[in-house]
Point group: C2
Chain length 592, copies 2
């Protein structure tokens, strides 16, 4: 289907927005009137630029306050509309978005609204313009698409049809199923937006917090399926007002936006039972293949890994890269081309069934491919770059031979650490929503409900991306903007069956565990009523503890090395969390 | 009265918070339990540190989920409470905040809640602890202070009293007048917080958006007056959860917080008819005395002022400072100690009745005094520094002789510009609320309702500080965080009686007015139906136009010089705005 985007979704000038939309691969745009008004290009110049860029101008929007009004206001509205029809003719746009009246309506009557739209339709016909009438969620009287459809039916005019907007329908909790009863030729336009579950007035929610499909809490695949079942064949168009996207790089946001639309169309087709979706089908990853830390000198990380019982597995036969392992945990230490001199998380390898399919899907979703220097004899690894710059490798299966390229180390992997439990990735605040979509669409992970943790320098938003069964868990943390020098938020959590034993042995090898204050243990005992013996043991070993209805969580932290630290985790029963209640204690200790 | 602050209001470690509170001048603090839990200091060490800093520990908070519960949960609650009483004894805190149950309550009965608080009171008595029971706005059953008071009355226990929190009462719209009927000895604690008018769930509103008194929309002076009339003599304590304050410099936030409390106590005393408030009484400023622009080379600004018809009034007899005037508008161009090489707004002089009183009030409210190099023979000017670094001078009256220190220019001031209409100050986002309080408390300006304007790189929040009658208007603009290189947001708006004539003459002198696109005039004509003749004239002169029910606004802009630009304004009738609808057009033009 044709894909379109409203210029209000993007930052910068109208010209910059058009270039970005075309470069990303959109077929068309909605012209947001204030963007046109502020532009130095004439309508004819914009039309010519769009033609050169291969963009259609799909919609002129918005036109307000035209129905449900007194005759005097309506006459003035006709005058306003005619001036806009002239502009639309100059632009070559044939559809205008007409919003239900939220400002000046005084007449609560479908018949009056229909008559006024019919008369506007007569005027529009003279300019070859179609009117797509949309029920705003905060319309004075018309705030439900079933009512706007009734008005359009009553208007019974060839130039008068509907605009459907997922936000206006789903934010109000209206059932979209009745869309299927609307004749396709009367659905003139479709606008798509997601949004987080927020309890606030719908106008502020809409103006500031809309998200691209797949990033919020609306079931957009089901919504789109209803519209497609109605027979709609017009453009799928994004209209997302969002404070963050307005500020970020326009080219990046355009790619991000198109990715959401590709994902949505694929999901909707699958929801409709179309086996061949738009995108290559993949299964979620089944585990961590490796985690890579880069630095100019990875020596300090090797010291800690040795203390944690990891074995040096070998040095790469052609590159300054070392591999350390314990159980299934493989840590790659890379001294090549580090973007920062200090140790930092640079890549995560995930085990997938079909690495070629995963890479193909990544390319279809415009995930930047990662190109690392390889040698003919080496195992080729497919990889994409996540929004925060972390490289995600597709491993497992046919590529598992990469480990054999490391030579000279011990073959033993008998440490107490059994594998990687989760990897925390710090996200710049402006890329957080993009990251959520990236991990759900490109990697088929599920986004869990977000939480907020109070750190010493501001709230840390956290949302976990995980595979079914939680073999892969990637908590994404958003660090407060001013907290660049605060506690590190990226870390590798290693799982074991006895964290107390790991800490004891690591200490014997010289590891400095992150100290936990006595006050924490006083509170733990008060809160959870753990017995004095357990409390003493945990306190002595600087181990934190959490418990929920399903099980228990024991964990300890290393000191931060550069920008990264390690967590040792023991899970008992079905505990599925990450000890979030203890995070403020950890961050305060790291800040000291 | 004693002044206190909850540690949750401040960023950093508990030790850093205590130092900052003491340095600002607070008498005491509320110990927020998570801050204690995360601290490496023992309760005894914290007690000793507080004693050394001269801080009392006024409250231990919060204790949750203790009333309205089953007997089993209540027994576990007593165990939890006793452990906390032990900690409180070690800290030397004698009052605990007990929140109404928002989590585990299953019994909706004042009698049961009272009986449980009574039993907890018996236990507390053994530790010398008092319980201050607070109705949370989102309490499961107890969400109104009148109900928590009923429960406290029923409990009828010397250790059980009330905690009143302005947020929990005013956010629900509850009438605080009944507070006056509560016996003073039963009001154990008072927490104060303001908040903006937001329509969202009260828990999120409370957790993220509280403000210090004077910054939001609650009538806190009236609220405090009710509490004082009840006879309350305990501490006035701030409890403000706010995403921004958690991130900003702790010392700065503590001063800002204390300023709000001093202002509030002063306002409350005046509301109670106490003529001698806490602070020196002042009248709002009556006009602009001057505006200062600093730069290494102010020459380019002088060129523009000359084009606008300003006259060079003279050079300061002892400093590299020039004065240009037109009508009542005085622009000081200063080449001393510029914090930036490029032209920028550095100071605003305001006319006040009593400059000594204004300076005294500034000092009482801990506004940083400005010290400029002066010479014995010069007129001394009192000044304070605003949160964004702008220096605010108190002029007029006895100090008006400063103009006579400028020599060698023309005496003529017969330009078409008549005075300064308003001065827009760009605010870093993290200091915006502090700035609102600064201008209302230190300068006695009124904060108008805020607006948001869509700029090409994000939304710009704007709020106008103005004097009665609007002789002084200071719009504060918050620039989006990433928009450091975007359009300038600080400018000087000059008023005249005929903006068309000013632009014509300025152009004849070579001024390049900011160009306004033709699309703007097309839209203007469509929107407002102005006649073709006026449209042609405005378009030819690049003048923008707005209209409201009270009058009209004509304005034009100069190009930006360094970080500052000028606006020429003509107001007709009672138009009181700033042409906000045109701001996106202006910003887009500046971005080009």
């Amino acid at each position: 289907m044709r894909r379109s985007i409203a210029t209000v979704c993007l930052s910068g000038s109208l010209v910059a927005k058009m270039h970005a939309a075309a470069a990303a691969g959109f077929d068309g745009i909605e012209v947001f009137e204030p963007d046109l008004v502020a532009s130095e290009l004439s309508p004819e110049e914009i039309r010519a630029l769009a033609a050169r860029l291969g963009l259609s101008l799909d919609l002129y929007q918005p036109f307000r306050d035209i129905e449900g009004v007194t005759d005097e206001l309506f006459r003035d509205g006709l005058r306003r509309a005619e001036a806009k029809f002239v502009v639309m003719n100059r632009l070559g746009v044939d559809t205008m978005l007409v919003c239900s009246n939220a400002g000046t309506a005084t007449i609560d009557s479908d018949e009056v609204s229909a008559a006024q739209l019919r008369e506007l339709g007569d005027l529009a016909a003279r300019y070859g313009v179609r009117l797509a009438f949309e029920a705003l969620a905060w319309g004075r009287y018309v705030d439900d698409y079933r009512r706007s459809w009734n008005i359009v039916e009553l208007a019974d005019h060839p130039q008068v049809g509907l605009c459907l907007d997922s936000f206006h329908i789903l934010s109000r909790g209206h059932d979209p199923a009745a869309i299927e009863q609307i004749p396709a030729e009367k659905i003139f336009f479709l606008q798509l937006a997601d949004a987080p579950a927020l309890s606030m007035d719908v106008l502020s929610w809409s103006r500031h917090h809309r998200l691209f499909p797949g990033e919020g809490s609306f079931d957009l695949p089901a919504f789109l399926a209803h519209v497609l079942r109605a027979g709609y064949t017009g453009p799928l168009s994004l209209e997302v007002f969002n404070d963050t996207f307005r500020q970020t790089d326009v080219g990046r946001t355009a790619v991000h936006a198109l990715r959401s639309l590709l994902w949505l169309e694929d999901q909707a087709r699958r929801a409709m039972g179309d086996a061949g979706g738009l995108l290559t089908d993949i299964e979620p990853p089944t585990g961590f293949d490796f985690v890579e830390v880069k630095a100019e000198d990875t020596g300090p990380v090797e010291v800690v890994l040795g203390q944690l019982g990891f074995a040096f597995r070998g040095r790469h036969r052609s590159k300054p890269v070392n591999l350390w392992t314990s159980g299934d945990a493989r840590i790659v230490l890379n001294e090549q081309q580090a973007r920062d001199a200090l140790p930092h998380l640079s890549a995560v390898g995930l085990r997938v069934d079909d690495d070629a399919a995963a890479a193909r899907r990544g390319a279809e979703l415009m995930a930047p491919a990662v190109h690392r220097r390889t040698y003919a004899s080496e195992v080729p690894l497919e990889a994409v770059e996540a929004p925060d710059g972390t490289e995600i490798f597709f491993g497992g299966g046919s590529t598992s031979g990469w480990v054999e390229e490391f030579r000279g180390g011990s073959g033993a992997s008998g440490g107490l650490v059994l594998g990687v439990d989760h990897v925390n990735l710090a996200q710049p605040w402006q890329y957080f929503d993009e990251a959520v979509l990236f991990y759900t669409s490109v990697l088929a992970l599920d986004a869990q409900t977000g939480v907020e943790v109070a750190g010493p320098r501001g709230l840390v938003r956290s949302r976990v991306m995980s595979s079914p069964g939680s073999a892969v868990r990637l908590p994404l943390n958003v660090v407060p903007p001013v907290d660049e020098h605060g506690p590190a938020s990226q870390h590798i959590a290693l799982v074991c069956s006895d964290v107390r034993q790991v800490v004891r042995e690591a200490r014997a090898r010289g590891l400095a565990v992150l100290p936990v204050p006595t006050n924490y243990y006083d509170d733990l005992q008060a809160r959870l009523g753990i017995d004095a013996e357990l409390r003493r043991e945990l306190e002595q070993l600087d181990i934190l503890y959490d418990r929920d209805a399903d099980g228990e969580y024991f964990n300890a932290y290393t000191q931060t090395i550069g920008h990264v630290f390690f967590e040792i985790v023991e899970r008992r029963g079905g505990y599925g969390g990450y000890g979030a209640t203890n995070a403020p204690v950890r961050m305060a200790a790291q800040q000291r």
